[in-house]
């Protein structure tokens, strides 16, 4: 396996892992999108939202239930399994039916691989998210949410799951002498962009002053550093690039995609921020993608917590480790109150998890597809041809994809 040339060219480490094979490159397309939009009010069941997004995505793809032979239903809390989604949609028969763990790309990767291997021809991905009773007073008062369980331990002295991001944010600030300024810019960027997105749960502007005055939750992270719990659902339809050419929308091709972890990924035992699953994802994308950060038009780094976004900027190579503060200041459009890399690459144009809502990355992927196929409405970037999307955090769910339209 000829690893040396490409690794040497890209300056990638030779040790350890994996492969630079990417036979799936540009062979699978995202051809349908559906979304309920996201809100903090709720009122519909997880299944109702899943079916609403799914029917919209299938219709958007120019297909019907009779065409769908694969169902990937993300295993979100309270979500319905693929077999009941099939029942609910009136699908006749399916040859691929799975429920991958949350954060968006596990489901998209599974669907893409099903199409590529011939397991199914038209695969539906559906991801409903619902607020847990622990997410807000209003949610706690909702009897329909009472049965839900959080994965978070009910003891305060815990630095796993969500709390781990606050803990490592403290380490980032300590190691690099960072201030909260870059964290604020990530949050403000998302809020600014959400204003042009009718699907977003929140669209009121956020100022630096309001960010600084915000209520601390898990110090050093405040309420604006944490994604916004919402109800809603996204759905996607994937098929082969060949089949996609006869469907209504410009096909958006999966050029390269991966997930990645380091083995030693227990949150509070991580060796350090110098080598996380984000690095594994980036190295693998650089091995398998012909397109990298000099060639992309849009960037969708995850921001379930703002610290995650800073490290995605650094680990993708936009700037060196610890340099996100300088980088975001230099690439800030002060008139627009948002990040524009080199004045041309906008970031999380939909408002991300911080302001559109905590979709766990489906929003980032949906918006990238809208932009690339030219259906992003008032947010449309008219030169959009390639996007880098990086869902997930540090520990057990980092993921990435390069999406493009046909050359």
């Amino acid at each position: 396996m000829g690893r040396t040339g490409r690794h040497a060219d890209a300056g990638l480490p030779e040790g350890g892992i994996v492969t630079n094979r990417n036979p799936m490159k540009d062979q699978v397309a995202i051809v349908g999108l559906g979304s309920t939009g996201f809100s903090r009010e709720g009122g519909a069941s997880s299944l109702a939202m899943a079916l609403a997004a799914a029917t919209e995505a299938i219709t958007d793809a120019g297909l019907t239930a009779a065409d769908i032979d694969g169902i990937v239903a993300t295993n979100e809390p309270g979500a319905t399994g693929p077999e009941k989604i099939a029942a609910g949609l009136g699908i006749a028969e399916a040859t691929h039916h799975t429920k991958p763990t949350p954060v968006a790309m596990f489901s998209l990767l599974d669907a893409a691989r099903a199409v590529f291997t011939g397991a199914a021809d038209h695969v539906l991905v559906v991801t409903p998210v619902v607020m847990g009773p622990w997410n807000s007073r209003r949610a706690a008062a909702d009897p329909w949410r009472r049965g839900a369980r959080s994965g978070i331990l009910p003891v305060p002295e815990d630095a796993t799951m969500a709390a781990a991001y606050a803990a490592w944010a403290s380490r980032y600030i300590h190691e690099y002498g960072a201030t909260k300024d870059p964290f604020a810019r990530v949050a403000i960027n998302s809020r600014t962009n959400a204003a042009a997105n009718p699907l977003a749960a929140v669209d009121t502007p956020l100022s630096f002053g309001a960010y600084e005055a915000a209520r601390m939750i898990r110090e050093p992270l405040n309420i604006y550093d944490m994604d916004l719990p919402v109800d809603g659902a996204d759905a996607f339809v994937l098929t082969s690039a060949e089949r996609a050419r006869s469907l209504p929308h410009t096909p958006v091709l999966i050029h390269a995609a991966t997930s990645g972890i380091v083995g030693k990924n227990d949150e509070d035992q991580l060796d350090g921020l110098h080598r996380t699953g984000q690095h594994v994802v980036v190295d693998q994308l650089r091995r398998t993608s012909d397109i990298w950060i000099d060639d992309i038009d849009l960037f969708y780094p995850y921001e379930g917590f703002t610290i995650i976004t800073l490290t995605w900027f650094e680990n993708c190579g936009f700037c060196a480790p610890g340099e996100a503060e300088r980088f975001l200041r230099e690439h800030w459009n002060d008139d627009a109150q948002r990040i524009e890399i080199h004045g041309r690459i906008p970031v999380n144009t939909h408002g991300g998890s911080l302001s559109e809502g905590a979709t766990r990355g489906t929003g980032h992927l949906r918006e990238a597809v809208h932009q690339l196929r030219g259906t992003a409405g008032p947010r449309q970037v008219d030169y959009a041809r390639a996007a880098l999307v990086t869902p997930g955090g540090f520990f057990f769910n980092p993921q990435g994809a390069v999406l493009r339209t046909a050359p």
Binding site: I152, L153, P154, V155, P156, E157, D158, A159, A163, A166, A167, W168, A169, S170, R171, H174, R215, M216, I217, R218, E219, P220, L221, G263, K264, D266, D268, Q269, L270, D271, G272
Partner: protein
């Protein structure tokens, strides 16, 4: 020492219900009842691992045992919780510190807890040397960290 480490599985599980107790980490919690901070260590190659798992990831030995750590280390990660799950004696209004301490036994071997009630505020920072002491929550011994005697 209160000798409660002989407690039955049922009683142990009830006592540490909120802590995610499993077969694999039960002996760590038994150690707490004796006010000993026990962590998993490979009896063959000597590597520590936390959280406890039944096999050594370094040498694939199944000869894992619980061994007592010194409880000495430095604060590696730090957060101050202003809200969180209700717990006896925890006042989120004042801010509840949670520290992840890197122990002297092995690089990146860490234990997460809170600090002693009299921990000096000025020293609550990453890099501060600490050592374990035993507090109680709901009548159950709990390892916390105090500033190390210099």
């Amino acid at each position: 020492m209160n000798g409660n480490s002989e407690e039955t599985d049922d009683a142990l599980i009830a006592r540490f219900a909120g802590n995610g107790i499993t077969r694999d980490n039960a002996d760590h919690f038994r150690g707490r009842l004796d006010r000993r901070l026990l962590m998993a260590r490979c009896a063959d190659c000597g590597r520590w691992q936390h959280p406890p798992r039944p096999m050594c990831p370094a040498c694939w030995s199944w000869n894992m045992a619980m061994d007592e750590v010194s409880g000495r280390g430095t604060i590696h990660l730090l957060m101050v919780l202003h809200q969180g799950p209700p717990a006896p004696g925890v006042d989120y209004g004042a801010g509840h510190p949670v520290v992840t301490v890197e122990l002297v036994e092995q690089p990146a071997l860490r234990f997460t807890s809170t600090v002693s009630d009299d921990f000096p505020a000025d020293d609550l920072a990453i890099g501060t040397a600490v050592e374990v002491e035993w507090a109680e929550r709901d009548g159950t011994p709990m390892p916390v960290f105090r500033k190390a005697a210099s």
